[in-house]
Subunit: 331 residues, 2 copies
DNA sequence: TGAGAAAATGAGAACGTTTTCACTGAAAGG
DNA sequence: CCTTTCAGTGAAAACGTTCTCATTTTCTCA
């Protein structure tokens, strides 16, 4: 039904090879010819068929962005919004289109055709694991892991200085004189969990404080769970004077528990979050948090992937982007 | 490099036609044959090439989800999260994969190969306009519009009862005795804006109240703009006793302005939002808002699109899903 | 003006599938 | 035992491009 390259060739009197060139590499074709080809194409409402093109070139110039977070089985995790934006721009600059795909597509039974074949490479964000990476690798699919660190040969991971961020947050609290500091940790990927928890421990060690395990809690990272967990921690006879929350959603949930318990923030309870997500400055009082350089993460991940797609050998490396403490009103 | 159907055929001793059938329509092939084909495929690490398959079938079984919101030029708008989830499930049930694409891909210059050809149809969400729909139509691309209503021939739009929702919110306020009610309206698509504004006006008319234009403001729908706008409205000599915000983000920004002005919510100022987004129960006090049936929107849009893809003639219609008032603590 | 270089074009194979049509052999029915 | 049916299979033509190689045309410079 739709016009093909042959129809255009017939109409303008050139061969299909020339028409193809007029679209795919315009500088290989005479100015006059190009004009005639474009005129004919417009007349026929023709655009090159991406599928046929991908078929013969063996590449689609598409990159897939797969977000997999267990607690947010939803692709549209707002945390990734700025990251996506940065990935998108980098891809566009390099000549690639970007598609977000649901994690489910990677999990199709018996390896049937899926995302894979239609993408030149994949950015795997979040709680991805070695298994997922290996699955993709087996199909010769270039992969870069984003916001996680996984131990697989020749695998590039782009993440944040999780440990440094946690240390920053905790040192901020200890410098303000806090000694009884709790942590409410979300069950993220092992890499994120352990790094942030280590930052917590080391900061306490620095001031010679031993860890009080009544102040250490791990939860599903939703605001509701956080509220519940914080309520319990705050009803201890000697409650903590500060709580380090391993992301902003948890911090907001914790704030709610404090307000309900009649505590003033930050006078009675100081709270620090992590991520500097949008909500951190929507709540009242505004949240002190650790800002991660999402733009850099996105850009670097995209650049690494494109390099791989274009033939570079992947290195086993973990690239960490910088963190920064944003002091607002909850401390 | 990667194994093709021919390699598998050679290894298992059948023709490529049979191998193809073993994967594409397993019931047309003898049990014993199918096993041998699968064994050979596994040995060679073969999976069918989706591109080649799409080429000959003339379809990809992919559906594109394009979100275009001006104030959120970011694809990962959390409002769409539950909608996406519902679209995804419906598509999966019908045998389609779903890809989110950036609106930018639709806007490529000179109609070069883009999203279009790799998708069997597109769900256009948000502030799409007639132009975008026509562009896609010209490429014979089935389209359904989501969360907007556009006046184009034979176009199916799935949206919410915007007017009814606004009326519900306003009647709730007037029933509680409010007379001086402000509106802070976000600059959304014309359809959303006018419907919600009409609801506001009609509710006031019902109680014989004339519209005080000092209480009517339109803003870019961010929390910051809302805070600023609400501050001004609240510093009027006779400030409103309630404000209807046309989405939850605006409502949160308005709450912040009220708290900063030392007003108690809801005693001094009642606030109603719209959308029932996640943030509405994260803030303190929790937000009264209008819940829209996102699951239904997603499901219906996907069903309509699939029907179109599979040959049904598109109808010109606007399907409205139900709304419901969720009363929380801000009223 | 003519030779050589460079630019523009065309012919046709290739990309990896699906699918139509024809063929084979086995089961079914009388 | 002969016909009819039907499930299973194979041969080969598509699908709409790109790209190599060869050919023709145009340009450059002595």
């Amino acid at each position: 039904m739709a016009a093909t390259i042959l129809d255009v060739a017939d109409l303008c009197g050139y061969s299909k090879a020339t028409v193809s060139r007029a679209f795919a590499s315009p500088d290989q074709v005479a100015e006059k010819t190009r004009q005639r080809v474009y005129d004919a194409a417009r007349a026929l409402n023709y655009t090159p068929d991406a599928i046929a093109r991908a078929m013969v070139r063996g590449r689609t110039d598409n990159i897939g962005f797969v977000i997999y977070e267990k607690q947010y089985p939803v692709v549209l995790n707002p945390f990734y919004s700025p990251i996506f934006e940065s990935v998108l721009q980098t891809c566009a600059r390099k000549g690639y289109s970007l598609f977000i795909s649901s994690d489910r597509d990677l999990r199709l039974p018996n390896g049937q055709t899926c995302v894979k074949k239609q993408m030149d490479g994949i950015i795997l964000a979040g709680q991805s694991d070695a298994q997922m990476v290996m699955d993709l690798r087996r199909q010769n699919m270039p992969v870069v892991v984003l916001n996680n660190a996984i131990d697989v040969d020749d695998l590039t991971c782009v993440t944040t200085d999780q440990y440094g961020g946690a240390l920053l947050a905790m040192q901020h609290l200890t410098q303000r004189g806090h000694r009884k500091i709790g942590i409410i940790a979300g069950a993220f990927s092992p890499h994120v969990c352990t790094s942030r928890y280590n930052g917590y421990c080391d900061a306490l060690r620095e001031i010679g404080q031993t860890i009080d395990y009544r102040y250490v809690q791990t939860i599903e990272p939703t605001a509701e769970h956080a509220t519940q967990c914080a309520s319990m921690m705050l009803s201890l006879p000697d409650r903590p004077t500060a709580i380090f929350c391993t992301n902003d959603t948890i911090a907001v949930g914790t704030m709610k528990a404090a307000l309900r318990a009649g505590l003033r923030i930050p006078q009675d309870l100081a709270i620090v979050g992590f991520d500097d997500s949008e909500i951190s400055h929507l709540v009242e009082p505004e949240l002190t948090t650790v800002r991660v350089d999402k733009a850099a993460m996105g850009r670097i991940a995209a650049e690494q992937l494109v390099a791989q797609i274009e033939g570079e050998q992947p290195q086993k490396q973990v690239i960490q982007t910088a963190v920064e403490l944003v002091v607002r009103q909850t401390t």
